[in-house]
Symmetry: C2
Subunit: 706 residues, 2 copies
């Protein structure tokens, strides 16, 4: 009988039944074998998921596994990629490892894909080695300023600073012929690098470990932008594909990097460029005469990667809503890994399976059915660029935009055991707070997850005082197409580090063959209590979104964000804009209108909640809440930024946390003449964000206001 | 008490109360003075509308008149535009009229804007005259083939065939320096041209009558594409504006055209180029020696038009919905005219005022309140390019897209007295049929409007047999931004000609100073019974859309359209596509999926209607019906076609009635090499329409299907 509302007893039951040991067992199975996208084991896991979600005792209402035909990139099995030091007479002085060292018996199997840079072009460049730090534009400019001739060189770079593909893009602009990428122990191991200090003796990255990854600059299937990658779909000709690295690129371990880097010739690199390999990092070009290689030796990078059209599956499951089946709460994670992927993504998949088991069991028993529909998803080919989720949003664009309440992503569920970490847009903040206040934090006595979280990530909110701070959503996992392309309120949930204890970029075995079950079981989350904490958080948020009569999306929390963006724009861009006769006045007015509309809507909600509103009244209100995020979309705002239509969360090039279109346009315009096209673009971007905010405010005002 | 449903007694009351004589009186007032966009009289009419819609006895719940600052174009008052014949020694041999003849005392006033081509650039080109028929690309090619040197000439063209602006665009490509446009009596007067045969002695166009019009190629404010034209909005630099005629252009009457055309030198024009001016139309260049002008005489076109930023008002009124206030039925017409505009647009505004009076009276009496909200609109600056309506859709894009059930447009309500004529997308067909079957047709005894209509416009439907045929929506009035930019199911309603009795392009005094109250009262609709028929049709459709529990949008009528588009594509493009290895198979499958989903949804509706569905169930269904049209939008489908996002109704260049993107791409590709970009675009367009149809089908399937 409506109003069917969130049932706290059901919620409590779900929280209680989410079982750490089951996640441990699921993780063991999920990570038993490497399951690279579209591999036989990846498809076997599709069947495992289907079986679980179709289970008569603990399954969902329905499950399916649709496929897309997508362009992936693999190293050649016949001709392995190779990095060599070649002496002046052509003799091979050093060969880098072609696979990681088999330290646990899991790194040697035939299904362990050798380290490679996915989508890096094949080629065999050879040249003098230079050290280019993180391969940013600034790094290459620094080398140029120092008079180092880059043309025809091989650039050794380390992970961090720039995106993977960006290193090769920046390098190629300077005539560099090939790029090597490694992980410096300073960036991942808090400086440690010896075998006895690293996995399997600790959580640190072993010397032979190599981070694999996609070097494609966009996301989605590269051949079918904005179209679902069905077999019959139009595909771009390869010559028209942009976003692939322009030159051969290969990742190596720090053991090999050390052999190269510590033998370099030339002047010393800046202090900020130095790492933890135990030598003074020089810039090159080429090797020093008194090192391991003769002075004229070159580095040869042989890359034989191949592009292949492959079938990749998503697995979708649904629990049909009892009252509002046409409202969807989506919860997903990718399934594909680079190797065993115990942490990435299987720690998230174990959580997904456990949440689905508990909910499915209640469903099949007849104890519970959600108010709204729940859609669970196991995405394919995320590692190659969020491909499965992106194709899904392309295929069901209209339906998802019209009906989706929110998207929850749990990819890596546990980076470390210290605290919750949530990224999301403002409307999801309150439901995450509500959920986490009611769940006990593991290993901290009586503290709630919320109370623990606030100690690690917090900010001072003008409205609420000190609260945990949510991060913003980039494009690091499958939430990207949902928030940026569809404008669906989204979040990403994980447990993570105590940043005072480690400065590791990410958990050390990320995307290596050492990301295994034992790694999680021994080092990352012994006892799986952090997995349980994430499962409870995701499960509680999911239930609150699916079952609450009033949607728990607090749109007025956007007011705070907009106000802070505005203040940052005023502080950091205001003077520059004023010099060019551009007033932020209309933006101030727009933010004020939004604040007023959000405030008034809040009062309307309170009044409704005190009365006995009928179903339709609440549905109308909920539609306003659900669709607010959509009002920030403008598919014409950033025509060059594929899939980025959300005018508040598109990529920013600068450090000011403000409206991205405005900030980026200012940064482009600032060194141009007053009448330039770049200054016109600043004004266009200002009008775009003003129109979006005014339009958003209009959707929050009473629905029958003119 | 819900379900609040359509009340047939209320409907009957509304039908009965819609009063022909009140429309006659309103029309008299509306057309009393010229009310060019943004003129004082236009603003006075804004106040008239506000007063009516705020009337305590017969007004709406609220009314407002927001303004936009938009770029309009006017002739100079100080330097009137001029067309002259200049002899070889510089003497003026002939001067065309600068205003229409004052035949009724209404053509001479200071507020009668002289004939001009809005947005035509200023300039004073002079050259030999050529006759270029309708100024199409083919027409200029024909002249070229005939060896006529076009460089530096003045081209005399007649209305029809190509859009106004297109004539100048085509001419400029051939080096033509200026363009004249006139209305041939063959095209507008069924050949008649003498003063005693024309207004005020008949409905025909007098010899001095000149059709004014906008020569801008796009719609919306030219300076603010995709942004609302608020004072603070970013505006394009004039140098970046596209779509204005490239060369000076001036319209003239057929009296002056005759003086020019009947004195031309050169060979005779083709038979299809001949008109009714009573001479053999020659092509030029220049005048014949034995005519009224000496052989070397040239024509000088002096245009002094000026672009001006002006404030233009929309008037918006609302009746708040009792049950679903967040669902809007929009009904609008423009208010601005070229001169008195008795027919265009005041015949529509009289209908709008009468419908609002009758509904407002029921509302204020407390007799009735609609289930959904009704929004009435009087748009500004339509004549310059649908500007007021377009800016409105830009400002409230999100809100309107989320909530609008349908848009009803009644611009010119009565072209003539013979029959109803409706343009619209398939979902509105059934509600128009239901409405018109219940209304008696004027002057035809007991016939319903439907039964009369079917005699003039009909087609054989595979589903229904012979039915009245709806036209499709181009961009001829304010429905354009609603259907093309927002994807809102739209329609345009009018009474019109018996095509067996006249071949006039449009009613003869269109956009002239002879479009006056007496013209309507004496010739177009004496007794105003056609006005009443249109008011009843629009009113009934409006009430059915606003008040029916089940939305009367029959989405399955799209199946018939899609099937016919598919068959046309197979017949006219299939062989060509097959030659290039492109299969229509995926499109066939997509159409079949749509048909199946629509069919199943139809059965679901029937089942619901037989039961006692609750409000929420019907709301969910209605959302599917309302939003179907949105699923055909793809803002990235036609990046060059401003505002055209609807993949089914974007402009087609060819004559095959099929999917426009596919047809246009084929027409571009057909003479290119197999591997060309143009053939890739064909495949892209095919995939775009397939994805749209599959996406649309997905929105029609049961809402909790995967
Ligand atoms: Ca795609
Ligand atoms: Ca505009
Ligand atoms: Zn991941
Ligand atoms: Zn990953
Ligand atoms: Zn009109
Ligand atoms: Zn008009």
């Amino acid at each position: 009988p409506d109003p069917q509302d969130l049932d706290l007893e059901i919620l409590e039951t779900v929280m209680r039944q989410l079982d750490a040991s089951r996640m441990r067992e699921d993780l063991r199975e999920l990570s038993r074998e490497p399951h690279l996208s579209s591999s036989p084991r990846d498809e076997a896991l599709v069947q495992l998921l289907l079986q679980r979600w179709r289970d008569p005792v603990s399954g969902l209402d329905a499950a399916e596994a649709p496929q897309y035909e997508v362009l992936l990139s693999f190293p050649s099995q016949e001709q392995p990629n190779l990095v060599e030091v070649v002496g002046p007479t052509g003799d091979i002085l050093h060969t880098c490892r072609q696979r990681e060292e088999d330290l646990t018996g899991e790194q040697g199997g035939p299904d362990v894909v050798p380290p490679y840079a996915a989508y890096g072009p094949p080629g065999t460049p050879q040249g003098l080695l230079v050290y280019a730090n993180q391969g940013t534009e600034e790094d290459f400019k620094e080398l140029q300023i120092r008079g180092i001739k880059l043309e025809g060189t091989i650039a050794l770079t380390r992970y961090g600073g720039a995106g993977r593909g960006a290193k090769a893009v920046n390098a190629a602009k300077h005539g560099v012929a090939g790029v090597l990428v490694y992980t410096d122990p300073a960036d991942i191991n808090d400086g440690l690098s010896l075998p006895n200090e690293t996995f399997p003796n600790s959580w640190h990255l072993p010397p032979s470990g190599v981070e694999r990854g996609s070097y494609y600059e966009y996301f989605g299937d590269p051949l079918t932008p904005y179209l679902p990658a069905k077999p019959s779909s139009f595909r771009l000709d390869l010559t028209n594909v942009s976003g692939f690295p322009p030159i051969p690129t290969q990742p190596i371990g720090f053991q090999d990097a050390k052999d190269l880097l510590c033998n370099l010739n030339g002047t010393s690199a800046l202090a900020t460029w130095q790492g933890a390999l135990g030598c003074d990092y020089k810039l090159g070009p080429g090797f020093r005469a008194d090192g391991d290689f003769s002075a004229d030796s070159q580095v040869k990078v042989s890359v034989y990667n191949r592009l292949e059209l492959r079938n990749s599956s998503n697995v979708l499951g649904i629990i049909r809503g009892a009252v509002e089946p046409d409202r969807y709460v989506l919860y997903g994670n990718h399934r594909d890994s680079w190797v065993h992927g115990a942490v990435d993504p299987s720690s998230g998949t174990a959580v997904l399976l456990e949440v689905s088991r508990v909910l499915g069991t209640l469903l099949k028993k007849g104890t519970w059915r959600p108010r709204r529909s729940l859609v669970l998803a196991s995405w394919g080919a995320e590692e190659f660029g969020l491909i499965g989720s992106t194709e899904f949003t392309e295929e069901f664009f209209s339906k998802l935009q019209e009906r989706t309440v929110a998207y929850i992503n749990v990819d890596i569920s546990v980076f470390a055991n210290a605290t919750l970490r949530v990224q999301g847009t403002p409307p999801v903040q309150s439901v995450v707070f509500s959920a986490t206040k009611e769940i006990r934090s593991p290993g901290t006595g009586d503290l709630s997850i919320y109370d623990n979280w606030i100690q690690y990530f917090n900010r001072s909110s003008p409205v609420y005082g000190i609260v945990p701070s949510l991060g913003s959503l980039g494009a690091g996992s499958d939430y990207a197409p949902f928030i940026h392309f569809l404008g669906i309120s989204s979040m990403d949930i994980a447990y993570t580090y105590d940043r005072s204890k480690t400065s590791a970029r990410i958990y050390p075995t990320y995307h290596t063959a050492f990301d295994t079950f034992d790694y999680v079981d021994k080092f990352l989350d012994p006892g799986f209590s952090s997995h349980q904490a994430v499962a409870r958080t995701a499960g509680s948020v999911l239930l609150r979104l699916s079952d609450s009569f009033f949607l728990p999306l607090n749109v007025s929390d956007y007011s705070e964000t907009l106000r802070s963006f505005l203040q940052a724009a005023q502080q950091d861009l205001g003077a520059l804009l004023e010099q060019h006769g551009i007033s932020l006045g209309p933006l101030v007015t727009a933010v004020e209108k939004f604040e007023a509309a959000a405030e008034a809507l809040g009062q309307h909600i309170s009044a409704l909640q005190k009365g006995s509103p009928d179903t339709l009244q609440v549905r109308m209100l909920n539609d306003q809440l659900m669709l607010l995020e959509r009002s920030f979309l403008n598919p014409r705002a950033f025509p060059e930024e594929r899939y980025y239509s959300h005018v508040l969360w598109a990529p920013r090039t600068g450090s000011t946390v403000t409206f991205p279109g405005l900030a980026n346009a200012c940064s482009t315009a600032k060194d141009t003449d007053p009448g330039s096209e770049a200054w016109a673009e600043v004004q266009r971007q200002l009008s775009i964000v003003v129109a979006a905010l005014e339009g958003a405010a209009a959707t929050l005002r009473p629905v029958a206001d003119l």
